[in-house]
Symmetry: C2
Subunit: 252 residues, 2 copies
Amino acid sequence: MALTPLDRNSPMPLWAQLEADLRTRLEANEFAESFPTDLELTEAYKVSRHTVREAVRHLNKTGVLKRERGRGTVVNRAEFEQSLGTLYSLFQSVESAGVEQTSEILRLEVTTDRLAAAQLGIPEEAQLVLVERLRLAGGVPLAVDRAWLPHEFASTLLDVDWSHTALYAELAKAGAPVPNQGWERLTPIVPSSADRAMLGLQKSDAAFFLERLGCRDQRPIEWRTTIIRGDRYRFVTDWSAGTRSELRPTAD
Amino acid sequence: MALTPLDRNSPMPLWAQLEADLRTRLEANEFAESFPTDLELTEAYKVSRHTVREAVRHLNKTGVLKRERGRGTVVNRAEFEQSLGTLYSLFQSVESAGVEQTSEILRLEVTTDRLAAAQLGIPEEAQLVLVERLRLAGGVPLAVDRAWLPHEFASTLLDVDWSHTALYAELAKAGAPVPNQGWERLTPIVPSSADRAMLGLQKSDAAFFLERLGCRDQRPIEWRTTIIRGDRYRFVTDWSAGTRSELRPTAD
DNA sequence: TTTCTCCGTTTGTCCGTACAATTGGACGAT
DNA sequence: ATCGTCCAATTGTACGGACAAACGGAGAAA
């Protein structure tokens, strides 16, 4: 992917234009092998090292890059993927603990769903692909995951081997759009007896209920609900005055 | 409070020393009236404007300052207080919605508690002050809050008018240490029938259970549990690829 | 083959300068 | 009293330069 020359007549600062271009190239996985050095970027974009460092500093506000003097800059893939929201942070925290994640298909079908359609902003009679899975960590139930996606571009999901757990990878493989932004909402619930049975929960156990809307180019393309065991997974934070703290999912 | 001169022989970068000094002064509320300009800081600490801007940039990583060209720098108190963890973020989100927060004392007594003592790292027979309150937002129950603090320095809490909601302000007023860091843990629970009654919850309702340890100078001085209605308050996040996202509490 | 040294590369730190964009207050005009 | 103009103050943007700290690879020595 060719770089975008900077526009010195633009009211947008040079560092901001440079950051946007680098971000686009980063999301296109162009820096998997190596990230350009400060010198390479000054030469490629014809700006000073100060401007390059300012752009990279902003790009790196989320810790997506690892920079070290003498060594250079590499892309922190784990951090990049963690930026796909709470659900993927949870999956990643399980993976970081070295626990194998698998899933069992509960339902894989074309259906309609009034609530999902409403969230996706499409007619309620529109056909949706429902992927309902029981997710396990180390063979133990972790969550019941239900994803509804418009049939018009998610139909290829019907032909997938779902013992893997990567919905987005399957979408990408099929050339379908993959969500890259959205919102999530976390609520405590008492699961239904059917969900309790699947998760191996007692009658007195509560669980987390995560609702998630995934969009591409501002367009909703994924509505998802996930019931997460609250006895094995919870959210923790270290807080400190003057320092931003954030809840992160962790296994008990 | 006098500023701390920078040590140019220290391996610690100048900007890092300057940041630490500014942070200390910020926590001592020294910049309530005004935050020094870049020029004032270069003159006071005898460093370049570049070093000053680097220090302020780091200090401001949490958004605790608001900087604008032409206007100057002011302290963002709301952001600073929000950095006291999820519980205070919740309280603040209610306040930002313009809803009055009050509290009713349920229990205010000297007691012992094995779990609290364990979390505080003191003998289980040690005397603790228990402040148990029902917290309301706009007259509607929001949470049941229980705080245990060692009696040796929290005894003044026994003489307080608790219709206000500011535990830390009361501690500060009494000259007692106030927590400035710690950890929190969020779990979903089915509340007891007593707690359900106080919160106005149905039998089928789950709630959030927040456990929190507050420390000062690395020493635990507050153990706290809070049951938060899950039907009225939840955690939401906006996520975006390549950008850090965080769950924040919000009223429904 | 292994270890050590040297050196080039890379980012971090620090300095200085210049100018632009924005803000707010002072002051004059109405 | 109100409005408009001007200007100083303040932060943001951009450049250039210099040197330090850390790293890794090449090549020599053992």
